[in-house]
Symmetry: C2
Subunit: 498 residues, 2 copies
Amino acid sequence: MVNFKVKDMDISTGGPLVVYLNEKDAKILDLHTSDRIKVYKNGRVETAMIDIARSARAVPLGSIGLCEEVLKSIKAKSGDKVKAVLAGKPLSIEYIKRKLDGFSLSKAQIEQIVWDIVHHKLTDIEMTYFVAASYSRNMTIKETAYMTKAMASQGDTLKIKKHPIMDKHCVGGVAGNRTTPIIVPIAAAAGLIVPKTSSRSITSPAGTADTMEVLTNVALDIKKMEKVVLKTNACMVCGGSLNLAPADDMIIKVEKPLMIDAKSQLLASVMAKKASVSATHVLVDIPFGRGSKIESTEKAMILKKDFEQIARALKMKVKVILTDGKQPIGRGIGPALEARDLLYLLKNDERMPMDLRKKSITLAGTLLEMGRKAKPGRGGALAQSLVESGEAYKKMIEIIKAQGKKITNPSRIKLGNYTYEHKASRGGRVRHISNECVSKIARIAGAPEDKGAGIYLHHHVGDKVKKGEKLFTIYAHSEQELGFAVEACSKIDGFVVR
Amino acid sequence: MVNFKVKDMDISTGGPLVVYLNEKDAKILDLHTSDRIKVYKNGRVETAMIDIARSARAVPLGSIGLCEEVLKSIKAKSGDKVKAVLAGKPLSIEYIKRKLDGFSLSKAQIEQIVWDIVHHKLTDIEMTYFVAASYSRNMTIKETAYMTKAMASQGDTLKIKKHPIMDKHCVGGVAGNRTTPIIVPIAAAAGLIVPKTSSRSITSPAGTADTMEVLTNVALDIKKMEKVVLKTNACMVCGGSLNLAPADDMIIKVEKPLMIDAKSQLLASVMAKKASVSATHVLVDIPFGRGSKIESTEKAMILKKDFEQIARALKMKVKVILTDGKQPIGRGIGPALEARDLLYLLKNDERMPMDLRKKSITLAGTLLEMGRKAKPGRGGALAQSLVESGEAYKKMIEIIKAQGKKITNPSRIKLGNYTYEHKASRGGRVRHISNECVSKIARIAGAPEDKGAGIYLHHHVGDKVKKGEKLFTIYAHSEQELGFAVEACSKIDGFVVR
C-alpha cells in the first residue's frame, strides 16, 4: 500500500478508468502500462488501468493523476491523499482465456465478464478477445442464455406485474417497413401489455425511434416508461435513452471492425433487450430474399431455429415469421414520411400504403393470438377490425399523449421543402427495387437526422409504369443535400423497369 | 472522388494513419468512424482511418484534417488541395476472418496481413482478432514459416555473402546467465560469422543489449552492423535499434493484455529475428526447471520439438539444448555487474564465475561443432582453448572497438556507489535461489536503466553458509533506490538456506 497525492488530470476518457503514474514511481513499484491498480480513499475504492506519464511535469513523483471517471468514483479532488496497491487482472481475463482455449463458461463466469464490461474494467483489446472467442469457439445455447440474462440484469429493467408481456422484433434490412407503430396500438387496444423499446437508425434512413420521435417524445427514463405502460398498456420509446443491457453496445463496438457476426452475441443482444422489459411473448419478423439482410430461405430457417432455441432456454414464448424482404414496404422512407404513412393507415385514410397495412395486420394478428386475445386463425380479423373501428388510432393517440404529444394528425407532419421527382427512363413493369439503393439515397437526402428528408415511393414491384412517370420523390431540408441525393440517384436509382 | 482542403491537425498518432472529417461532410459522403479513405495528392496516395470531428472549428466543412503521419506520407501541408475516395477495408481483414473461421491461410494472405500490420493499416482491435485467431485456431508449421519469412522480409535484413551464418537464442527466465557475449567472441575467434542481435530487457534486470552497452555502442544501423561483421566476423548489437521484423513488436503489444502465448507467434517472433540476419545455423538454449520460465521437462521437450519443426520448414539448421534453469547463473545480475563478470571470464581472471564459464564453453563448443570448426564431441575443448589462449578476449576487444569502444578492462566498469550486504539469517546449505526474487530486487535497485545497479551473488545452490555470512550485495545509484531494494529483500530474499 503506497500513499499518493491526487492530481486532477482534466482528462475524461469517456468510460475507461485510467490513472497516470510518474515514470520513476512506476519503476520503483514495478508497475507497468496496463497493469491495474486499486486506489483507496475514505472507504471508497476503484480499480483502474495504469498509464505512465512521460514527464514529471504531467505527474510529479509521489502524485497519482486521475481521470474524471476515477475522481468521481472515489470522490477525490486535486491534493487529496489516496492509498494505492497493485491489483490483479479482472477475473474475467482468465475466463476469456478459457473460452479462447475452447472451454464452456459457467453462469457465474459469464456474469463476471458482463459485469467487467459494463463497469469499464476491460480494454477494447480484452473485449475483442472475448468476442473472438465466442465466435471461433461458439457459445452453447446455455451460455447464450446466461449471456442474455447477465446483459439484461446488469442494466435498467422494467418490471410490470402483469402477464403476458408482449414484444416484437424485426431483424431489419428492408426500407420503410415501419410495422411496430401499427402493431403496438392494435395489440394495446385489444388489452395486451406491449412495453416496446426501439433503436434509432445507425446505417438506415430511419429506426422506429426516429419515426416515433416525429410524433412524440421517445427519450423516456425507465420510471416514465413504466407510467406510460401502466396508463396505456403500451409505449414506443427509444432504447438508447434507457440503460438497457449496456454491455451490448460495448460489445458491438468491437464487433464492427471485422464485421463479426457472432451468432450467439446477436441472439443475446436482441433477447437481452426483451428480457430487460420482462417480455414473456416475442414475435420475430425475419424478412428474407434478394436484396434483404438474409438472402436465402436456408439462412432464414436457421435463424428462425436459433431464436426458437434461445427463447426456450430463456423460458420465453417466441413465434418467428418469415416475410418477403425483397423490396421496400410502405411508401415513405425517412422518419416524417414513414410517420405520415402510419397515421394515414391508423386513420383509415385512403392515402395509406396497402402493403404496409397488410403486413402489419398479419403480424398484429399473430401477436393477438399469442396473447390469447384471439383464437388461432382469427387474430388477423380482430386486428383489422381494431384498425377499421378506429380503436387502434385512439390507442395511438393515448400513447402519443402519454409520452408527450407532438402530432397526431398526419397533415401536420412537416416534410423537407426541397423536392425532386425521379422519373422512369423507360416504360415497362417494375421488376425490382433495391432496399440498399433507396435507403442510401434517403440517407444522402438527410434522413434520419433531418426528420423530413427521405423518399416517397410512387410504385412498387409489379406496377406498370410509362416512360417519364414518377418513380419516387426525394425530400430534403436543403438545396445542397437534395443536389447530392439527385446526383446519387442519377447514377443508380435501385429500380429495375423492364 | 471529392475535393478537400488540407488542415494540419498537429496530431501525431505514433503510427496509425488517421484523417478527420467534418460531421456534415462525413454524412453527405456516407462515411463513418473507422471507415477507410484514400487521400490523393500529386500522384501520392495514402489510405487512412476516418475519425469524425465533433466541431466545425476543428475541421471546417470541405476540409480534411490530417495527422502528421498522413501529412508526411503524401507530402501535404495546410491549405493544400487533395482528393479523397472511400477505400475498401484492407484485404487482410477478410483473411483474418477466414482464419477466425478455421481456414488455413496462404503465403500471399499471410504476407498481406504482415504488410498491413507493418504499415499501420490495422487497428489494435483488428490485430487482436488476428492473434486470437492464430491462437484459438492454431497455425500450421507451414503458416508459421510463412509468417516468419513475411515478418523478416518486411523489415531490415542483413545479407552477408558467407556461409554458414551462426546465431543463438535463449528463451530466458534465468537471472544472470549472460552467455552470449562469451559464446560470440569464441565462435568468431574460430572463424565463424555471428551477426548477433539482442534485445534490451523489458521485465528482467538486464538484456544482452543492456549489458553490452556498458562496454560498447550497441545502437548500430544495419549498414554499420554489416561493416562490423565483415571486419570482425561478429557483432553484438541491439535489435531494437534496427528495424528487424517490425511486425513482431506490434503483435506482442496486443498479446500482452491477455498474456496470450500463441505458440506459432512466439516461434515466428524468435525465428524472424534469425531470418532477418540470414542465419543458417541456430543454437537454442532452453533453461528449464523449478523457478524458470519452463517448469517441466515435458514442456521443455515440446518447445524443443517446435523449434526443430519450424527450423526445418525454414531450411535452417537448429540445435536445441535443454539446460538447468533452476537458479541464477553467474554472479552479477544487472548490466555492469554482468559485463564485469564476462570480461573477468574472457581475461581468465580468477574472479570469474565458474558456472557461467562452464555453461558458455559447452554452448560455444556446440556452436563450433555446428559450424564445422570442431569435430563432434571436440567443440568444448576448442572453445576452452580459445578462452584460455586469450583468443576469445582478443576477438571481444576487436568487436568492442569496431562497434565504438567504451571499456575493455573490467576494473574500469562503474558500479553503483550505494551498496548493501545482505546476510544469511541462519546457517546451512543454500537449497534454492529464486530467479524471480533476485531479479525483482535488482530491478528495484535500478537495473537495467541504472547500468551499475543490481545484485552480486556471493553464493550459489549447494554452498554452505554460516549465519551472518554475505549472501549477496545490492548496488544502486541512489540512497532511495537502495532503500527500496533493501526493503524488498528484507521481506523476501529468494534464498532458501537449510
